[in-house]
Subunit: 222 residues, 2 copies
DNA sequence: TAATCCATACCCGATGTTGGGTATCTTTTT
DNA sequence: AAAAAGATACCCAACATCGGGTATGGATTA
């Protein structure tokens, strides 16, 4: 809190812009968002952009940023992990997630690991500016739509979280591996895989693989 | 061809900008892309934007545009249908599709119905400008990545198209209906559904429902 | 320490899926 | 008019999945 205020004051005293690192695997969205930010406010500036999480990681290590804005769905690494890395390298950095998906579970997970803002790609550009404004003041920002989802998605909590092992198996199922193949890959018995499978079906509230694959898609396990 | 050249000359003679209608259900991408186009060239101008296909349809009927740039994946209506509508209302309009997905079948389908350009969201903003440039000269534009995909996806043609009935059944399977339920819904025998099922698996090159559901997701049947 | 959770593994039986066919009738294409 | 494609429907056998259990050892939490 204290650090933040100091940072904020320092910036404004020196009339410096907040330096932003923008990450998205879609080049066009990257450039579009940069155009929005650079054009809409003279308080913020996109210092660098990265279109892979790896490149972002590299930039984070060798530069100083005030804010990280990142896509959530990216190849190899989820926005989630990138945020964790960013918070480690630059503990004071503020993070905003830009996502297509509006699954309550994902949003909750992000907030839990300390993301400061969450915006959907279908929100307006004003949301981005509002979010930047809020997070630099040390507050959390959720776009209207996101709040809406959180409120109406509460009972969704009964969807108990899958255990790590169950997530692993769900992913393999969704990759078209058979029970036998999964057993071979994980060096466990087919019976065990079947047990996991049954538990997963129960937890996800479906009664066949199709439902499971749909669950995997909705929760970005694919 | 003739008409196009006339249009092109007329525009430049009058020093008028090409009028663009931009359609995308993600507000941020809409505004970002608009910023890119308006900022990068004084030959083109985003006259209107729409975040639903319905709104786009309305605009198309009451206004004149030279170019339509549309997302492919949208609720209710696919970019495909919007292009058909646009070409009906304004036969001379040029159409460019902006898509996340890089399925050869989708690209081929779009080119078949007369789309003039195809860009992936992971391409650079220069691709958009290049595309605008080309299509106003009456040429087709495929971004490098897209051409790449088309070339390496040729043998994908063995993925013979599913028949209407097969598509119908695929959708039902992907909606978690069992063979028995599908038989009831379509008033046909379970045996028939099984036959369709087998043919679909063969055509899509998979050997279980999981692969089928993945196919459904990739081809926007879900 | 006791209770809970997680991962492991087995049993059983019912039901569903997959892969191999063949066959008829209608519609569309050549 | 002949050929091809599409939708219908059946047979059979092998295999996988699903739903109901129970059980055990290890780790974590209360």
């Amino acid at each position: 809190m204290k650090i933040l205020k100091k940072l904020y004051l320092a910036r404004s005293a020196r009339k410096m812009k907040y330096q932003i690192l923008l990450v998205d695997d879609h080049q066009i969205l990257l450039e579009g968002t940069k155009a929005i930010i650079d054009g809409a406010s003279d308080l913020f500036e996109v210092k660098d952009t990265a279109h892979t999480p790896e490149r972002a990681q590299e930039l984070l290590k060798n530069n100083d940023y005030d804010i990280l804005i990142t896509d959530y769905e990216m190849p190899n690494m989820k926005g989630l992990e990138l945020i964790k890395i960013a918070k480690t390298v630059l503990p004071e950095i503020k993070t905003i997630v830009l996502s297509m998906h509006d699954e309550p579970s994902v949003i909750r997970e992000l907030l839990k690991i300390g993301a400061d803002g969450f915006i959907l790609k279908k929100d307006t550009h004003q949301s981005i500016i509002d979010a930047l404004d809020k997070v630099t003041r040390g507050k959390k920002f959720l776009s209207e739509d996101v709040s809406e989802i959180l409120i109406h998605g509460i009972d969704d909590d009964k969807n108990k979280d899958l255990t790590p092992r169950e997530v692993e198996i769900t992913k393999l199922i969704a990759k078209e591996y058979s029970t036998k193949q999964i057993a071979d890959i994980l060096f466990i018995s087919e019976r065990t895989v079947e047990t996991h499978r049954k538990n997963i079906l129960k937890k996800t509230g479906t009664n066949n693989v199709v439902g499971l694959v749909r669950y995997a898609y909705k929760n970005n396990l694919v």
